[in-house]
C-alpha cells in the first residue's frame, strides 16, 4: 500500500503526517508513506483544501487533520 500526505508544509499538514505515521507504526503496516509538498504535484489530485491523505492514488481525507479512527478507516483496518 502507498500512502501520501499532501500539504505545503503548514502546521496542520505536519500533524496529519505525524498522525498517519503513528497509525502505521502502531499497527505494523507495510506501507510506503511519503509527503508531497510540491503544489504542482498536489494539484494532480484535484483537491482544494489541505491537508489531504491519499491512499493508493485515491484521496481519502481532505481539509482537516484526521483523527486516528478516520485514518484507520482510510487505510482499511
Amino acid at each position: 500500500m502507498e500512502v501520501k500526505v499532501l500539504g505545503p508544509g503548514c502546521a496542520k499538514c505536519k500533524s496529519t503526517y505525524k498522525a498517519v505515521e503513528k497509525v502505521i507504526s502502531d499497527n505494523n503496516l507495510d506501507v510506503k508513506l511519503t509527503k508531497v509538498e510540491d503544489i504542482m504535484e498536489m494539484m494532480n489530485y484535484n483537491i482544494m483544501t489541505t491537508p489531504a491523505v491519499v491512499v493508493d492514488e485515491v484521496v481519502k481525507i481532505k481539509g482537516h487533520v484526521p483523527s486516528e479512527s478516520e485514518i484507520k478507516e482510510a487505510l482499511g483496518i
Binding site: 500539504g7 505545503p8 508544509g9 503548514c10 502546521a11 496542520k12 499538514c13 503544489i39 504542482m40 498536489m42 494539484m43 484535484n46 483537491i47 482544494m48 483544501t49 489541505t50 481539509g63 482537516h64 487533520v65 483523527s67 478516520e70
Partner: protein
C-alpha cells in the same frame, strides 16, 4: 457573569485593588481571555457544522452550473467567510477554482474575504468590540470581497498568471467532477467538528494570551486619550498610514484585536482601527510569497493594491459615519 468571576478572582482571591493600574490590567486580562475563548470555541463549532454541509467543492460545482448575473461574487465571498482559512490552502483553492473554469474575478473575491472574515476574527471582534462593530467588520469584509473581486475581474489579468496556471486555465473544463454527497449522519460528525474547534482554540491560544497580555498592560498603564494626539480623526493620512504599516505585520487576528481594542479605548478612531486590522489579516507578505507560485509579482501588486485601496476607503467611511 464572566465579569463577576474575573472580579472575584482578581480583587477577591488575588487581593488586588480595583483602583490600581495592576488590578484593572489583571482583571482585563482574565475577563477578556475567558470571554474570547468561550466565543471562539462556539463560533468554530458553528462554522464547522456549516462547513460539513457546504464543502468548497459544492460551491465550485454550483458556480459552474448556474448563471448568476453577478451574484456569483457574493456567493463566493460568503463561502470565503465561512470557510476556515488556512493560508496554505489558498493556493490549492486558487488552482481548484481556475481548473474548474471559474472566472478570475470570482476567485479573487473568495481570496480577499476568506482571510478577512474567519472564525478567529469574528470571535475576537465580538469579544472585544461587541455585536455592532463585529457586524460592521463582517459586512465590510464581504463587500470588500465583492467589489474588489468585481474590479479585479474587469482588469483582464489572465496574462499575469504563472505559465503553468495559464495552462491549467486553458485546459479547464466546466465539466466538474460530480460533487460527492457525504451521507455521514450529524451525530457521527460532531466529534470531528468539536475536535477541530478545540484544535483551532489550541492553535491560537498563545497569540490570544500574548495579545490580551499586551492589551491588558496598555489598558492599565497607558493614559486615556493617549493616542488621540497622534491619530485623531481629522488627521487625513492616519488611515492610509496605518494600512501601509499593517502590510508587513503578520499577526493573526487573535493577537492583534486585543491590542486594537485598547488603542480604540485610548482614543484611536474606530475606522482607522478597522482598516489597520483588515490590512494586517488580509494583506500579508507571507501570503504574497505563497501567491508567487501562481501569479507574477505584477499581479500580486495589483491584487494587494486594489484591496489596500478599498480598505483605506472603508476606513475613511467608518470614521465618517461612526
Amino acid at each position: 457573569m464572566i465579569q463577576d468571576f474575573a472580579d472575584w478572582l482578581v480583587y477577591g482571591i488575588f487581593g488586588l485593588s480595583a483602583d490600581s493600574s495592576l488590578g484593572t490590567a489583571v482583571n482585563f486580562f482574565f475577563y477578556d481571555t475567558i470571554k474570547i475563548l468561550i466565543l471562539l470555541f462556539f463560533i468554530s463549532i458553528l462554522m464547522g457544522i456549516i462547513n460539513a454541509y457546504f464543502p468548497i467543492e459544492r460551491l465550485r460545482r454550483y458556480l459552474q452550473t448556474h448563471k448568476m448575473y453577478g451574484l456569483q461574487y457574493l456567493l463566493a465571498v460568503i463561502f470565503g467567510a465561512i470557510t476556515p482559512f488556512c493560508s496554505c490552502s489558498s493556493i490549492p483553492l486558487f488552482i481548484g477554482f481556475v481548473k474548474g473554469g471559474i472566472p478570475l474575478g470570482v476567485t479573487f473575491a473568495f481570496l480577499i474575504t476568506s482571510p478577512l472574515v474567519n472564525e478567529v476574527a469574528v470571535a475576537m471582534f465580538l469579544g472585544s468590540f461587541g455585536l455592532r462593530v463585529t457586524l460592521i467588520y463582517v459586512i465590510s469584509g464581504i463587500l470588500l470581497g465583492v467589489i474588489g473581486g468585481f474590479v479585479l475581474g474587469r482588469l483582464r489579468l489572465t496574462p499575469y498568471l504563472s505559465d503553468w496556471v495559464k495552462q491549467i486555465q486553458a485546459n479547464s473544463s466546466a465539466q466538474a467532477d460530480e460533487w460527492e454527497k457525504d451521507h455521514t449522519p450529524f451525530i457521527k460528525r460532531l466529534p470531528t467538528i468539536v475536535h477541530d474547534a478545540l484544535g483551532i482554540v489550541r492553535g491560537v491560544l498563545l497569540y490570544i494570551l500574548i495579545g490580551i497580555g499586551i492589551g491588558a498592560f496598555m489598558h492599565g498603564f497607558v493614559p486615556e486619550g493617549f493616542f488621540e494626539q497622534y491619530m485623531a480623526k481629522d488627521n487625513w493620512f492616519a488611515v492610509p498610514l496605518s494600512v501601509i504599516l499593517a502590510v508587513p505585520m503578520y499577526a493573526n487576528a487573535a493577537g492583534i484585536v486585543p491590542v486594537i481594542e485598547v488603542f480604540v479605548a485610548k482614543g484611536i478612531p474606530i475606522g482607522t482601527a478597522i482598516a489597520f486590522m483588515m490590512a494586517v489579516v488580509g494583506l500579508s507578505l507571507p501570503e504574497a510569497t505563497l501567491l508567487k507560485k501562481v501569479m507574477t509579482w505584477k499581479l500580486i501588486g495589483i491584487f494587494f493594491g486594489t484591496v489596500a485601496f478599498f480598505i483605506i476607503l472603508s476606513g475613511y467611511l467608518f470614521n465618517f459615519i461612526l
